[in-house]
């Protein structure tokens, strides 16, 4: 099997290429942003256009505490990444567990909110346009958050069994990008659903 000879080796300049993990995660985030954009557009387009009640402003209450939990988890995962890169294993584990707990709290909050809406208010996805757009947009975010939590838990299991070390800091950083994205999306969703939409 032949191979190409080096044609005219130029003066050997250092050859840097971007990290494929970060590039592909950035691509995934671009693609996901487009999906969320469409759902946000649908939410805004249909805001106030339901033909029957209840309206979003009558039933929705902003989950401020759980939102703070989620935003804090961005900070803890960032710290976890830095601890891992510096080789501070216990600090890494602590902030990683904290991230999982905060993310889990947020998911619990969404569950509580939905339970309240469905059983106390009778507000479901098929009630009216407000219900359809609300559950779809918030549900899409909750789905992404759940995926993120599963990934965080996988890392946690590996970390507890001692398989996550300094060498994996770059990979953990890629997961961290995804988690930041899920948090940033929540800022948009929160603004759209609980501020503008009401």
């Amino acid at each position: 099997m032949s191979a190409i000879a080096t044609a005219l080796p130029e003066t050997s300049r250092p050859w840097f290429l971007p990290d494929r993990g970060r590039v592909s995660m950035a691509c995934l985030i671009i693609a996901e942003s487009a999906i969320f954009t469409i759902f946000v557009v649908a939410y805004l387009y249909y805001a106030g256009k339901s033909l029957s009640g209840p309206a979003a402003r009558d039933v929705l209450e902003a989950p401020v505490f759980y939102s703070i939990c989620l935003l804090t988890s961005s900070l803890t995962i960032h710290l976890a990444g830095r601890f891992l890169a510096r080789g501070q294993h216990v600090a890494f584990l602590t902030s990683w567990v904290l991230t999982v707990v905060l993310g889990g709290l947020f998911l619990f909050g969404t569950g509580q909110e939905w339970r309240h809406l469905i059983y106390q208010r009778g507000f479901t996805i098929s009630t009216n346009l407000a219900g359809t757009t609300y559950y779809s947009l918030v549900g899409l975010h909750a789905f992404h958050l759940t995926v993120g939590l599963v990934l965080l838990l996988i890392v946690l299991i590996f970390a507890l069994s001692g398989h996550v070390g300094r060498d994996h800091a770059a990979r953990v950083e890629v997961l961290s990008m995804y988690w930041h994205f899920v948090d940033a999306v929540w800022v948009v969703v929160f603004t759209v659903v609980y501020v503008i939409g009401r």
Binding site: S2, A7, W15, V23, A34, I38, L129
Partner: protein, 557 residues
């Protein structure tokens, strides 16, 4: 491939059991094998989609024909459109990109080989799911089988009330799953091109096919996802009782149109951009000149990528948008003509003064240039809103976009097949059969799609299953159908050529066309590892430098 089996005289090579070979192909993560899987898969669906087109053309052969029922006709045009776009054009282009991009940029494989295989199988199974609807689509209600809502699946036709049974669900879920496969491949291609280039290959030295692939993949990320979002909404409507597109509850049918065409129009550019890449690789080699205006070509490609995302509503002039919206989409649609015009001039500039070799790949490329130009001109006609009001949803539109897809994309693909088949198999395609294929296909294409403009102007709407005699459509439709059969014969010659040349074709050697990009530096077919040692390049045409050390490109780079 029997690539890694070297032939020694007098030594009997033991043939391996077919189960083992099948297992190798099913579990492969080699970008070349996955590329070939994509291409073979697309060719199978090309034949299926072609049969559906033929059924429609037989039905429209003359007025009041009863070859198929109206219901079957609806299924045929829905399945033909969906198949050709999602299961022929997309996979075949991904297949070529998969096969060629790592070779062209001097990499050993894609950035994520397993994601690559996963994406392929997602797409493969989504195609099977779509066609399973013929068997399983009636569901509990006994209504309908294959999807029959058109490939746009406009709301509210897809609502439970108008589309009972599961035929529309098969369409939705198949397209959704196939879309996830496409997004996976797009991410993989971008990561490969940005992160796996061989030393020396900075962005300004990449082959144009790699450039166009990266632009195309970026567009896939941004435009296939709105379709996925719209499909999710449709599923919410159909399964959870949502009201996104339920006009009875305040939902909007126009919103679906927007979401669909935000995907649908850029999709055309997603398909044509890699074809521009093929032409940009083939025309220079057969003109014996480097590509004219490389940086402008790159700029024009990126410009097309951006502009094409703001033109979608020119598919919707007839739904009654405001005059401001109409004007905006007229202007942006016409603006696409500028970068495409630049490209056509650059290809002509490459051929100008060159020593042109009229081999089959070049013949298809030249036909592409003419036909793509005409397709662009009817596109500019349709981009003018008042003209569109007159001819929207007529056979003029059908003729226009088939001119783009067949006259542009399919011709460029045939050029690519004749050009890279020697690299993929180690054998040349027969030049005689290639010429027969080319001329028959050109004649059939023009008989069908030139003629098809006329009944459109005379008022024949698309998607009708039959028509009244005496409207001036009869002769035209007869000619259109005859042209379709000629194209069918040409395709059969092509398929025969592909199969026969695999065993009987002349041996190709590494570099049959005396070309300049890296894929021709390795053996045909390439070994699993592509390059024994990673190449280091110093110009856009590394093989030229190798063959002409006295006057290398790198001197001017």
């Amino acid at each position: 491939m029997a690539a890694d089996v070297m032939a020694f005289p007098g030594v009997q090579v033991e043939s391996r059991p077919w189960v083992e070979i099948l297992h190798e192909w099913v579990t492969t993560v080699d970008h070349k094998r996955i590329g070939i899987l994509y291409i073979a898969y697309a060719l199978v669906f090309l034949v299926i989609g072609g049969i559906e087109a033929t059924i429609m053309r037989i039905q429209l052969l003359h007025s009041h024909n009863h070859f198929v029922s109206p219901q079957v006709f609806n299924r045929m045009f829905t399945m033909h459109g969906t198949t050709m776009i999602f299961y022929v054009a997309m996979p075949v282009l991904f297949g070529f990109a998969n096969y060629l991009v790592p070779l062209m940029i001097g990499a050993r494989d894609m950035a994520f080989p397993r994601l690559n295989a996963f994406s392929f199988w997602l797409m493969a199974f989504s195609g099977l799911l779509l066609y399973f609807s013929f068997v399983g689509g009636s569901g509990l209600y006994g209504a309908g089988n294959a999807p029959d809502v058109g490939w746009w699946a406009y709301a509210p036709l897809t609502a439970k009330a108008f589309s009972p049974g599961h035929s529309s669900d098969y369409w939705t879920i198949a397209v959704l799953v196939g879309g996830f496969g496409s997004i996976g491949t797009a991410i993989n291609l971008i990561a490969t091109i940005l992160c796996m280039r061989c030393p020396g290959m900075h962005l300004g030295r990449m082959p144009l096919l790699a450039w166009l692939t990266v632009v195309m993949s970026g567009m896939v990320l941004i435009t296939l996802t709105p379709l996925a979002a719209a499909q999710l909404m449709l599923l919410v409507d159909r399964y959870l009782g949502g009201h996104f597109f339920d006009t009875q509850a305040g939902g909007s049918a126009a919103l679906w149109m927007h979401f669909f065409w935000i995907f649908g129009h850029p999709e055309v550019y997603i398909l044509i951009l890699p074809c521009f890449g093929f032409i940009s690789e083939i025309v220079p080699v057969f003109s014996r000149k480097p590509i004219f205006g490389y940086p402008v070509m790159v700029g024009a490609s990126v410009f097309i990528g951006f502009v094409s995302m703001s033109v979608w509503a020119h598919h919707m002039f007839t739904i009654g948008m405001s005059s401001y919206a109409n004007s905006f989409f007229v202007i942006t649609s016409m603006a696409v003509g500028i970068p495409t015009g630049i490209k056509i001039f650059n290809w002509l500039g490459t051929m100008w003064g060159g020593r042109i070799l009229f081999r089959t790949p070049m013949l298809f490329s030249i036909a592409f240039l003419f036909q793509f130009l005409i397709a662009g001109l009817t596109g500019i006609m349709l981009a003018a809103a008042p003209f569109d009001w007159q001819l929207s949803n007529s056979y003029f539109v059908v003729a226009h976009f088939h001119y783009v897809i067949v006259g542009g994309i399919i011709f460029a693909l045939f050029a690519a097949f004749y050009y890279w088949y020697p690299k993929m198999t180690g054998r040349m395609l027969s030049e005689t059969l290639g010429k027969w294929h080319f001329w028959l296909f050109v004649i059939g294409f023009h008989a069908t799609f030139d003629t098809m403009h006329i009944p459109g102007v005379l008022g024949m709407p698309r998607r009708i299953y039959t028509y009244e005699p005496g409207r001036g459509w009869d002769t035209m439709n007869l000619i259109v159908s005859i042209g379709a059969f000629i194209q069918g014969i040409a395709i059969l010659i092509f398929v025969y050529n592909l199969i026969a040349s695999y065993w009987k074709g002349a041996l190709a050697g590494n570099d049959p066309w005396d070309a300049w990009t890296l894929e021709w530096a390795t053996s045909s077919p390439p070994p699993a590892y592509n390059f024994a040692s990673l190449p280091v390049i110093a110009s856009r045409r590394p093989l030229w430098d190798l063959k002409h050390p006295e006057d290398p490109d790198s001197r001017y780079d």
